[in-house]
Every structure is written in structure tokens, then in C-alpha cells.
């Protein structure tokens, strides 16, 4: 086997079942390629911990679930038929482990996540209507001069801003309604795809997008507030 041309394990592991690169990765893992396995453990453990927390009530329990999941993956690796992506298979094992434990802990599973919307989470505009021109205006629905967003300088990823941006985002995330927070975390913080997020949470694609939209919009507004504060750009407040 030559590894020079091989995809990184984390890349091959999200490919659909039957893909040549997945077959190659499975061969490597079954042959004991510890580097490839460690790559998956290191890349996915944070995400698996977060998903486990949907089912169990403490971080310590989630750690045990994730450890048990990896051990089950190791034990069942030879039996995995490769019909789904490796990642999908690992998620299924995790959820089986987590549910078993969650039942023991009497954690009611994700707040009936899929059922119905709490109306207030879905209602209303995500940007203050006062920032837009009225229906009688020449450009109805356009930004007013005071309402329009202005570019963020320096950028959030700039070293001068990064620490404060992370602090504000963490705080703002924790203040989001739980369903919005969970979707934004799974998608943006932990890197699940929209399909994966829908499946983990039992959400329809449309509801998932609404929750993502409302959550991200609030976080954007929080960062905007930070920038206005730092630049002294004016007292208007969305």
C-alpha cells in the first residue's frame, strides 16, 4: 500500500460507502494504521462529545460514551460493511451507546427536538425593521443611511480581535434559545453537515435552516455591537 497519494483519513471517512478512498481507508485501519485511526479520534472526539451530550446529562457521562464508542468501533471494524460513510457508522454507534446510557440516566432525549416550533423562535425579522426604509420610501425595504451595516475592521479573525470575538460569541451562543444554539453549535462550531445535523436532531431541513438562520443572525448582531462599541461608530442600536 502506498500512502503518499491517499486522502487524509478524515476526508475519506466522510465519503459515501463504496467509494474507493473509503475502501482504502478501511484497509489501512484493519491493517492497524494507528496514525489514520488517531487522526479520526482527534478530529471527531469533540463533535462526538457534543452529540453525546444531547442524550446524557453530564460531561463525564459523555466522555464515557465517546470512549465506549471508539472501543466499539475498534471491535466492530472488521464487520463494517461500508454501506454508509465511516462517519455515519460511527455516529450510529455513538447514538446507540448514548441512548442506552441516557435511558439509565433518565435523560429525556433531545427536548422533543423535532416536534413543532416554539413560535417565538421562528417569528419576526432577524434585523431590526427600523434599519430599513418604509413602504412610502423611494426604495422601500432598503437600508437607511444609519441602518446599513459597515465593514468590520479589523476582521474578526485578526489577532487584534480574535480573543474578544471568541469571548463574545461564546457568551452569545449560551444566550441563544436551546434549539438555535444546538443547531449553530453542531453546524458551525463542530462542523456537522446539514444532513448530519438534521439526522442527529430529528429536524426537517427547513426547520434546521430556520434555526441556523436565526441563531447566526443573533450572533452577527452581537459582533456588530462589539464593533460599534470599539469603533465608537455611533449610538444607534439594532
Amino acid at each position: 500500500m502506498h500512502h503518499d497519494g491517499a486522502l487524509p483519513a478524515v476526508t475519506a471517512a466522510v465519503l459515501e460507502g463504496g467509494h474507493a478512498a473509503q475502501v482504502e481507508l478501511l484497509d489501512r485501519l484493519r491493517a492497524g494504521d494507528r496514525t489514520a485511526f488517531a487522526e479520526l479520534v482527534d478530529a471527531w472526539s469533540p463533535m462526538l462529545l457534543r452529540v453525546a451530550r444531547l442524550h446524557v446529562s453530564t460531561h463525564a457521562s459523555a466522555e464515557e460514551v465517546v470512549q465506549e464508542t471508539w472501543l466499539a468501533v475498534i471491535r466492530q471494524l472488521d464487520r463494517f460493511e461500508g454501506r454508509s460513510s465511516l462517519r455515519t457508522w460511527v455516529f450510529r454507534i455513538l447514538e446507540n451507546q448514548a441512548r442506552t446510557r441516557g435511558v439509565r440516566e433518565a435523560r429525556t432525549v433531545p427536548w422533543s427536538f423535532g416536534s413543532g416550533a416554539d413560535g417565538h423562535e421562528h417569528a419576526g425579522a432577524t434585523v431590526d425593521r427600523a434599519r430599513f426604509r418604509g413602504p412610502e420610501d423611494r426604495w422601500p425595504g432598503g437600508w437607511t443611511p444609519e441602518g446599513r451595516p459597515t465593514a468590520w475592521e479589523p476582521a474578526p479573525e485578526d489577532a487584534a480581535m480574535a480573543a474578544e470575538v471568541r469571548r463574545e460569541l461564546r457568551a452569545a451562543l449560551d444566550e441563544l434559545p436551546e434549539r438555535q444554539r444546538t443547531v449553530v453549535e453542531l453546524r458551525d462550531v463542530y462542523g456537522l453537515s446539514s444532513d448530519e445535523t438534521c439526522e442527529r436532531l430529528g429536524l426537517s431541513p427547513g426547520n434546521q435552516r430556520i434555526l441556523l438562520h436565526r441563531g447566526r443572525a443573533r450572533l452577527r448582531a452581537r459582533l456588530e455591537h462589539v464593533y460599534r462599541g470599539t469603533t465608537g461608530e455611533g449610538a444607534r442600536r439594532g
Binding site: 500500500m1 489501512r28 491493517a31 492497524g32 494504521d33 494507528r34 489514520a36 485511526f37 479520534v41 482527534d42 472526539s45 469533540p46 463533535m47 462529545l49 457534543r50 460531561h59 466522555e63 465517546v66 470512549q67 471508539w70 472501543l71 475498534i74 416550533a117 421562528h122 419576526g124 425579522a125 432577524t126 430599513f132 426604495w139 422601500p140 425595504g141 432598503g142 437600508w143 446599513r148 451595516p149 459597515t150 468590520w152 476582521a155 474578526p156 479573525e157 480574535a162 470575538v165 471568541r166 460569541l169 461564546r170 451562543l173 449553530v184 453546524r187 458551525d188 462550531v189 446539514s194 431541513p205 435552516r209 441556523l212 438562520h213 447566526r216 443572525a217 450572533l219 452577527r220 459582533l223
Partner: protein, 99 residues
Amino acid sequence: MADLPAPRSADDDVLEIACREFVELVTEHMEGTLPKALENAIAAHLELCDPCVVYLEQMRRTAAALETLPTPTLPAAARDRVLEMFTSLHGGTDPAAPR
């Protein structure tokens, strides 16, 4: 999407959107889930509207900044235990594998 202002059709029947509508479509635009007609309307809007370009950019940067948040992982002892188990069950190391 819930509670969207209905995009209006202009006289020539080409879909036009206002800024107030764009900000509620921005996530679906980023997700690539909008119908073609709305995507066309958004492209036309962004050509002419710098503040909406800024808004879109800020949504992207918000999502990108979220990726940089620190996340807890397995404790080192648990990670070691898992990797030891891997090696003991799946044989020694593959000689071709970079170690």
C-alpha cells in the same frame, strides 16, 4: 422560511428583492438551497447593494469565527486507552504507515 416578506415581482416580471428581504434569505443563499429565480434576484441585488454585500460577508465571518471556538475533547488518558486497544486488536503497526 417563516415570516418572510414576499418578494415582489417587478413590472417586467423579473424577481426583485429589497435589502430587508435579503437579510432573511441570506442563510438559504449561503446553504445553496434557494430556487434559481431567487438566486438570480439575489445576484442582481448584490451587484448593486454594497451594504448587503457587507451583511453577507459578516454572516460568513460569523460562521467562520464560530469554527475557531475551543471545544473540549477526550482526556489524554482516555485517548491513550482507545489507541492502545486499537493496536492490540488490529495487530501491530502497518509497516507502510508513517509513524
